[in-house]
């Protein structure tokens, strides 16, 4: 009934309806406009580029975790997997002549070969998560809580808790590269990475059997199983894809930061989950879209920049972010309660 009503309205009507159902997004956009017109330099190419670069990497992580959330799971190991990928990439991509090299014995490696290695490691961790969840039926929360700690431990052992720097310049230049200059027109390459993966996930979620099976499992796992969906393998694939996405994000993050350490990526899983939830991914399963995830992540990053521009003590960031998560989900859940 409500769906039919919305369809009948014109563009403006639909816009209003969408705004009404996403109050937190409207609020943040409004706040950023206010900040934009009161604080200088907020509306600038440099700031936009900054926002895009930050959002792009978070978006990849959120895309990875979105599949887990849509199937009523979660992935707490996301942040640590990003950290591990960043460390592996960092260690293998260090310049041969860099004095602080962690492993002096290994030769200087091609950055694309390292990319492949990172992907394989990510897929492997995802596969472990997926197997434990789908075959041993350990709840995703517990499974990934365990692997989160394991991955962090491995990362500490492997890097000896040392910071890693001295990357090959091809690597950092390519990933932090941009079109245009900082003062004028400016678009970072990471934008295109985000667009490519956004499109890929949109296709995966909407046009393939895997996507449909994922939504079906989230909607009603028993019904999906009875309908002949191979629920175990679908869940396994979701966690492998997630692992690969974290690996890519880690690989990009190390280059963007110009260094890596075991503490990198800490807490990113919570930001990603929060972003997804703000973007309308339902915690009760079966609901969530790629544009929604993008909006959620964007809103979160926008919030950080707004707070920064307002000169708020950075320690307050956590308080505000936490409030936004709770308020966003409380409002989101109200929609479903009202429907019943």
């Amino acid at each position: 009934m409500t769906a039919a009503k919305i369809e009948n309205k014109n563009f403006f009507g639909r816009f209003l309806a969408t705004a009404k159902s996403n109050p937190i997004v409207v609020l943040l956009v409004a706040v950023s406009f206010v900040v934009g017109f009161t604080v200088p330099n907020f509306f600038s190419w440099g700031n936009l580029g900054n926002l895009i670069s930050n959002t792009a990497i978070r978006f990849l992580i959120a895309l990875g975790v979105s599949g887990c959330l849509i199937t009523k799971g979660t992935d707490l190991s996301a942040g640590r997997q990003v950290g591990l990928a960043a460390c592996i990439a960092g260690v293998l991509i260090q310049r041969g002549d860099y004095t602080g090299r962690l492993f002096k014995g290994i030769p200087e490696m091609n950055m694309w070969l390292v990319f492949l290695i990172v992907l394989v490691v990510g897929a492997f961790i995802g596969c472990v998560n997926g197997l434990i969840i789908s075959r041993l039926k350990v709840p995703p929360f517990i499974t990934t809580l365990g692997t989160q700690t394991i991955v962090y431990g491995i990362c500490l052992v492997f890097t000896d808790a040392q910071p890693i720097g001295g990357f090959q310049s091809v690597y950092t230049r390519l990933i932090t590269g941009r079109i245009g200059s900082v003062s004028g027109f400016y678009l970072p390459y990471l934008l295109f990475v985000a667009v490519v993966f956004g499109l890929f996930f949109w296709f995966l979620y909407n046009k393939t059997c895997h996507g449909k099976y994922m939504y079906a499992i989230g909607g009603n796992e028993v019904a999906a199983e009875v309908s002949g969906v191979n629920t175990k393998n679908t869940v396994l694939k979701i966690y492998i894809i997630a692992g690969v996405m974290y690996a890519i994000a880690g690989y990009l993050l190390a280059a963007k930061s110009g260094g890596a350490s075991a503490s990198m990526g800490m807490g990113y899983e919570l930001e990603a989950i929060a972003g997804c939830t703000i973007g309308g991914v339902s915690t009760t399963g079966g609901i969530g879209t790629v544009p929604g995830v993008l909006v959620g992540v964007l809103v979160f990053e926008l919030l950080k920049i707004v707070l920064q521009f307002l000169g708020v003590n950075p320690y307050y960031n956590y308080v505000v972010q936490g409030l936004v998560i709770v308020v966003a989900v409380a409002l989101d859940i109200r929609k479903y309660i009202a429907k019943k």
């Binding site: 009934m1 449909k212 009875v226 002949g228 079966g286």
Partner: protein
């Protein structure tokens, strides 16, 4: 002073789309066992839930000791001395027997004179006394989960007894008990009778009824049929009174002609000893095989076993003469078997997804372009085809299925299975929770499928539906097939006699 301890008069209760009770009544004498009998859906459990305050009566009055009373919730029922042992147990397995028995009314004491805490010693002492009273030898501190289902049932009875009740309702108490346990239950009932407790005993087992009850009230279609002295009744006379209703012509004419045997099941036995065992039957091409029986006859379990949802330890399935190995639903689906599950909500619909997603989920591979990309036009065609063919009422194919009515949801799920073009369709209670108009439409769809040459297995707990739709009827009781009869000449009495053939 009234002769009756408790009376219910002119009780009516309607649920959306069905009149569950109309002018039902019940009169209980102290120290008597009163059997309440009727078919599935006759309103026995509804009447008891009204007495126990779980449902609110639309009309009617309850009298205790001749005084009118209102009972608005189970707490109030308990305080008025009414206790009930439910058919479906709700124990907490990870807590002790004592805690389960005293759940919600733990004996309390004051620690240091002012901090209220649970008095565990008193609770377990009382539990021990209770267990002794009902002749159970368990440690009160034992975890509930370590007991068998039947032992839990006995604990549940002990719990009801502990409430010092004057009226005790037992809803199918012996369905999971062994013969010895039934005997000890009967001893408990005998003791309670001597204490003057009025007992309502709901059961389908004729021999038990005739043995322990003093009076029998029979209900049919939510109505009170009558109350008789148990001495005056026989199994045959009870069955006649239970089913004595005229079947109206509510079913479409059928033009299907059963052909050769398509689906055959031999000696099918569950891994669970209480579930289906040694079941053999076959279904022909274009035939509707009705599967009748009482609730708990393991019909659903059998069908889920055939479909690979439940495991079996023995038996074979043949489809078109070839053996069919089924370990999971996909095996059955790939070979052309479909199962419309009993509970639409828990295993049928994916509520938050669209009609299109729900209808296509089982046959998605058919609509792929380049083997990877789902062609949404083909999916839309599938939806429109089904909307037209089955008269599904939905605003659009993108509408969430949970916003449709039960009948329309059911049609979407039937459409989901037909998209696979199965040879054998298993329909488990296809018209449950569906209003009368949509029911007829679903009957027409089923009749049409049989006419097209599909083999249909249909479980139904509605006698009329079973007799009105089946070419042949298989009746199950307590996990076993007790008979297969021809649908044409079958009578309600015949089916009921087979359905109550416990051994």
């Amino acid at each position: 002073m009234s002769e009756y301890l408790l009376e219910m008069k002119n009780v009516s209760k309607a649920f959306p789309g069905v009149q569950a009770l109309s002018n039902a009544q019940l009169q209980l004498k102290p120290g008597h066992v009163h059997a309440l009998m009727g078919e599935n859906g006759a309103g026995k459990s509804t009447l008891m839930k009204c007495m126990f305050g779980i449902y609110k009566m639309d009309k009617g009055q309850i009298y205790i000791d001749g005084q009118p009373v209102t009972i608005k919730d189970p707490m109030e029922a308990l305080s008025k001395g009414i206790a009930m042992v439910h058919q479906e147990l709700q124990p907490i397995p990870a807590r002790t027997i004592g805690e389960n028995i005293f759940l919600g009314r733990y004996p309390m004491k004051k620690l240091l004179g002012f901090i209220p805490v649970v008095d565990h010693d008193k609770m377990y002492d009382d539990t021990a006394k209770l267990l002794k009273k009902v002749k159970l030898r368990f440690n009160p501190r034992q975890m509930e989960g370590t007991l068998s289902i039947s032992q839990m049932q006995l604990v549940e009875i002990a719990k009801a007894v502990s409430a010092n009740c004057r009226v005790l309702i037992l809803d199918e108490p012996t369905s999971s008990l062994t013969q010895n346990e039934v005997e000890s239950l009967f001893n408990i009932i005998e003791d309670l009778k001597n204490e003057g407790v009025a007992i309502v005993y709901i059961s389908h087992k004729m021999d038990e009824i005739l043995r322990i009850s003093d009076e029998v009230t029979i209900m049919r279609d939510g109505q009170y049929i009558g109350t008789w002295e148990a001495k005056e009744l026989t199994t045959a006379s009870i069955i006649t009174k239970m089913v004595g209703r005229e079947l109206k012509n509510l079913y479409p004419p059928r033009e299907n002609v059963p052909g050769e045997v398509v689906f055959e099941v031999k000696d099918f036995t569950s891994i669970n000893p209480k579930s289906f065992r040694h079941v053999s039957f076959n279904v022909r091409k274009g035939e509707i095989l009705g599967i009748g029986g009482l609730v708990g006859a393991q019909r659903t379990e059998l069908m889920e076993g055939l479909f690979g949802i439940r495991s079996h330890k023995a038996g074979k399935i043949f489809l078109h003469g070839k053996e069919l190995k089924v370990n999971r639903p996909k095996d059955a689906i790939d070979q052309g078997v479909a199962l419309l599950t009993e509970s639409r909500r828990t295993s049928g619909i994916m509520g938050v997804l669209s009609v299109a997603d729900n209808i296509s989920i089982s046959s998605l591979k058919k609509y792929l372009d380049y083997n990877i990309c789902i062609n949404s036009k083909k999916v839309e065609n599938l939806v429109q085809e089904n909307v037209k063919k089955m008269n599904i009422k939905t605003p659009s194919s993108k509408t969430q299925i949970q916003s449709l009515s039960g009948g329309n949801q059911q049609k979407v799920i039937i459409g989901r299975w037909l998209a696979n073009d199965p040879d054998v369709l298993i329909l488990d209670e296809p018209t449950r929770g569906i209003d009368v108009g949509a029911k007829y439409e679903i009957y027409c769809i089923i009749a049409d499928l049989a006419k097209q040459g599909k083999s249909v297995l249909m479980i139904t707990s509605e006698m009329g539906e079973l007799l009105g739709m089946s070419d042949r009827i298989m009746v199950m009781c307590d996990g076993k097939c007790t008979g297969i009869i021809d649908g044409k000449g079958a009578t309600q009495e015949q089916v009921m006699a087979l359905a109550t053939q416990f051994d």
